[in-house]
Structures are given as structure tokens and as C-alpha cells.
């Protein structure tokens, strides 16, 4: 058996801790993070002293660091580090945690994301953008041109897709509308009001082709998952969520001629999981923007490059569709916990704990993370079943 086959299914997510999420004020990111770790331990049925690994990822506010170990009184850790590759980090934390427990470096590793950029009375975009420092030198021309944060770059990549492949505004809108329909089934979602395609078109522009509803929410809170070896996870309180495949890819900038980073990342993960794209039952995709969903689905091989528009508008991503996607409402409608948003929903789905939104088919769940301006990508294939 090769190294990849031996790893596939050998480790599992055994605990999930989610704090209150969204417009939750008066708490620091560090407090949310400690809360999420303790909730994940309780969820797994683990004692705090059994936790010997901690990986953490601070959001835009940089509100958590290694002192979280002190806050939690974790005195005897075998693994501890802070990581950041933006939106792909959460998936990568799960990967490194799985490597650590698989190779015996630690028994139970907690992976936590926490952020608290929202301030009461300040608009979300301002609160989030306000945390960004102006860059010196040549970087100063960006804000003067009108570039602020990642939105213009993603919007322009979406416009390029429209120019090259004929993707339409309605097709981007279908993703926003579909996410909201899912969020209406999720009690933790920030936005649960109905959303029609007409509402989408009527929403204010930010950088066309992006309306405000093409862009994810901003949220306060924290999410933690705990990774253990499969045989240990089986003795704990929750049904294990096995890690069948993992992948990452990184690139300097978007290159049409080369295989995209999402393609490379997913190929690695799917090969490790021993499955083809057609064998994936559902997706939890990092939806920082509507367009990110469209292009990730293309790159993962669920449709051809350029055909993502018709694919997402076909109803494929809905409850009765061929590839139910972002069943929790994603970051567009539910909450923005970077890569922990799709991971937490995948864990809930794999456990069969999705309530009104639970999907019947959950044997192979593809989970994506995306960071930078298409610079960093991570993929997980999660399952309630050990690899057969």
C-alpha cells in the first residue's frame, strides 16, 4: 500500500465547536476562539488534558495568536503553531493536523479559526476594510486607482469569464439566490430572508459585475474542529468524519494557459480519496464571491471550463440537484468564518446532523478553501465512512 492510500481514511474529524456567529458584539476573537475549542472538546467527549495539538488561524483582525494555549491552560502540547494562507488555511490546518496524528506526533489536534472584525454601528464592509493597512511605495497607487481589498480583483476575473465564455449576470445571481434558499434551512445563518433573482439584480453594485449580494458576509465568531486517528475517533462521542483525501495548490497569479490551482488541488485530493468528480455526492465550496463557486466547480471537474454558468443556473446545486452545494448557505448567506464555513457544514452533513437541510447522499463530500486572489487553494474529501 502506498503512503497516500495508507493515509486515506486513517484520520477523522471527531469534534466540532461553533460559537455564536455573525453580529455578535462585545467579545474578542481570542474569547471566541477559546469558546470554540472548549465546545469542540465537549462535542467530541474529550477532556482538555487529552488535547495535545493546537493549530490556529487568525482572520483579518489578527485577534488570536499562540497565547491561546495559555488562555486555555494547555500545558503539554506536542503540536502548536499559527498558520496563514488566507481562505485556504482551514483546510490546510486539517491536513497538517491529520499528518500529525497519523504519524503519532499528537493524538488530538484542535484547528481553530476566530475573527471579530464587526463593530456595532459600523458597516460590515467598512469594518472589514478598515483593518487593512495602506501599503507603502508603489502599493499606494492601488487605492488611488480605486482598488480596495480583494473585491475588484475577483469581480474582474468574473467579468473576464463573462467576456471569454459568455457567462451571464443571471448565472452569478443563481448562486446567490441558491445560497439564500439553503440558508433559510439553517438556524445559524445570518441572512434568512427570501431572495429572488429580481432582488439580486436590484441590489447595489460594488464593482460590476458584482452586486453586494455577490460578496460574502462579514462575521464575528470562531469555529474549531478536532482531528484524531480514525480508531481513536470511533471511541468518542460523535460519529467520525473520515478524511479520505487532501490537496493543496498555490500560484502567483491566475494563468489561463496552465491548470488552475483548484484543478491541481482537487486532483490530488480526489486521487487520494480514490474517486472521480462524478462520485462526489455534495460540495461545500469556499464562496467568498458567487464567481468563486462557479470557477471552483469547473476546476474540480463537475463541468467543463467555461460551462460553469449554465451548470450553476440549472438547479444542480439545490436540494434536488445533481450536486447539492453549500447546504448551510455558505459565506454568502450564512456566516463568514473563512475556510471553517465549508468545513463545518461538511462535518454536519457527514454526521447526518443537518436537520431540515440534511442531504441523503453524503458518502463523499468535497470541501474547498481559497485564499488571496486565486493564490492559495486547499481541498478535502470528507466522509462518514472509512475508505472501502
Amino acid at each position: 500500500m502506498g503512503a497516500r492510500e495508507a493515509f486515506s481514511g486513517a484520520t477523522a474529524i471527531c469534534g466540532l465547536g461553533m460559537t455564536e456567529l455573525g453580529k455578535v458584539y462585545g467579545r474578542t476573537a481570542a474569547d471566541f476562539a477559546a469558546d470554540a475549542v472548549l465546545r469542540a472538546l465537549a462535542d467530541a467527549g474529550l477532556e482538555k488534558r487529552e488535547l495535545d495539538g493546537l493549530l490556529l488561524n487568525a482572520g483579518i483582525g489578527q485577534g488570536i495568536d499562540l497565547s491561546l494555549a495559555q488562555t486555555l491552560g494547555l500545558g503539554e502540547l506536542s503540536v502548536l503553531t499559527q498558520m496563514n494562507a488566507y481562505g485556504s488555511t482551514a483546510g490546510q490546518m486539517v491536513q497538517y493536523a491529520a499528518f500529525a496524528v497519523h504519524h503519532g506526533l499528537a493524538r488530538h489536534v484542535a484547528c481553530v479559526f476566530a475573527d471579530a472584525p464587526l463593530v456595532e454601528g459600523v458597516r460590515a464592509g467598512q469594518a472589514y476594510g478598515g483593518a487593512r493597512a495602506r501599503r507603502p511605495g508603489l502599493g499606494s497607487i492601488l487605492p488611488s486607482l480605486g482598488f480596495a481589498g480583494p473585491i475588484p480583483f475577483y469581480a474582474m476575473h468574473a467579468q473576464r469569464h463573462m467576456d471569454v465564455y459568455g457567462t451571464t449576470q443571471d448565472q452569478l445571481g443563481a448562486i446567490a439566490v441558491g445560497s439564500r434558499a439553503w440558508a433559510q434551512k439553517n438556524p445559524q445563518a445570518q441572512l434568512r430572508g427570501p431572495l429572488s433573482l429580481a432582488d439580486y439584480h436590484a441590489a447595489p453594485w460594488v464593482v460590476a459585475p458584482f452586486h453586494v449580494l455577490d460578496c460574502c458576509l462579514v462575521s464575528n465568531g470562531a469555529i474549531c474542529v478536532i482531528v484524531s486517528r480514525g480508531e481513536r475517533a470511533r471511541d468518542l462521542a460523535q460519529p467520525p468524519v473520515y478524511i479520505l483525501g487532501v490537496g493543496q495548490a498555490h500560484q502567483l497569479q491566475w494563468d489561463d494557459a496552465a491548470p488552475s490551482l483548484a484543478q491541481r488541488s482537487s486532483r490530488t485530493a480526489f486521487a487520494m480519496a480514490g474517486c472521480a468528480p462524478a462520485e462526489i455526492d455534495q460540495c461545500q465550496i469556499y464562496d467568498c464571491y458567487t464567481f468563486t463557486v462557479l470557477t471552483t466547480l469547473e476546476d474540480y471537474g463537475f463541468c467543463k471550463r467555461g460551462e460553469g454558468g449554465p451548470f450553476v443556473a440549472s438547479g444542480a446545486l439545490g436540494p434536488e440537484g445533481a450536486l447539492p452545494t453549500n447546504s448551510g448557505g455558505g459565506m454568502l448567506s450564512s456566516f463568514y468564518m473563512w475556510g471553517m464555513t465549508p468545513i463545518s457544514e461538511a462535518v454536519i452533513q457527514a454526521r447526518g446532523a443537518g436537520g431540515e437541510r440534511q442531504l441523503r447522499r453524503n458518502a463523499r463530500i468535497a470541501v474547498s478553501g481559497n485564499g488571496g486572489i486565486f493564490n492559495h487553494h486547499s481541498t478535502l474529501v470528507l466522509s462518514p465512512h472509512e475508505r472501502s
Partner: protein, 129 residues
């Protein structure tokens, strides 16, 4: 060296209407934005060269909401990412007065327009070809 000092030759060239790119004296690679080390060969011997100013639109978007108050009265503005003939991809804007449809792949040519504080900003006009 302060990274903003490293940009001084760029801004001096921009005042003359020229887009300066860093050029590696070891391997010839031209880069943007500014680097302390050539991303291709690793050399620290970086000089300057002049871009032809010709390129193609990689992508464009219509800015409808501005973070800076000085831009609020000028909206909408067309933001560009332009792939220069020399290789680098640079952020820019469509020049004032340029109207009509724009598509990824369109040929464009460089100019400069001053920001509110007088800093020359790279802008592009449609070009033949």
C-alpha cells in the same frame, strides 16, 4: 532601503509619462510590482527598463462604490488589469473620456492621469490591433 524609496525611479519615470519596470541585470526578466530580488533567477541586481506601454486587457470591472472620497464624485470608473507586452500584469484604469464596450483581450496603450494628490496613475486607451 525603505520600500517606498525603492519606488522613486518608478514615480520619476511616471512623471515623464513612462512606465518603468524593474529589469533583472542577470537574467533580463522584467517584473512588476517592485521586488528586492528577481523572482525568476533570485539575483538582487535589479535595474530599470521602460515598458512599451502596449498591452492587452486581461480583465476589467466597473467601480461603482469607492473607498476614497476623492473618487466618489467620479463614479463609475473602469478598473483594468492589463497584461503588458513585456509580461507583467498591472492594475490600472481606463483613461478618462474612453467610452464604449471593452472586452478581455482588447489592445490598449498606456498614459498617465494625476490622482487627487498629483500622483501619476497608469491609465490605458484603446489601441489599434
Amino acid at each position: 532601503m525603505d520600500p517606498s524609496d525603492r519606488a522613486a525611479p518608478y514615480f520619476a519615470a511616471a512623471e515623464r509619462g513612462v512606465l518603468a519596470l524593474q529589469r533583472c541585470e542577470a537574467c533580463g526578466a522584467q517584473t512588476f510590482p517592485l521586488r528586492a530580488r528577481c523572482p525568476r533567477c533570485g539575483s538582487t541586481r535589479l535595474g530599470w527598463s521602460e515598458s512599451s506601454g502596449r498591452g492587452r486587457v486581461f480583465a476589467h470591472g466597473r467601480l461603482e462604490r469607492a473607498a476614497l472620497p476623492e473618487l466618489a464624485g467620479r463614479l463609475p470608473l473602469t478598473l483594468l488589469l492589463v497584461d503588458l507586452d513585456e509580461g507583467p500584469r498591472i492594475p490600472a484604469r481606463l483613461a478618462t473620456g474612453e467610452t464604449g464596450p471593452l472586452r478581455a483581450g482588447d489592445a490598449v496603450a498606456l498614459g498617465f492621469e494625476p490622482a487627487a494628490d498629483g500622483t501619476p496613475l497608469p491609465v490605458f486607451r484603446r489601441a489599434p490591433g
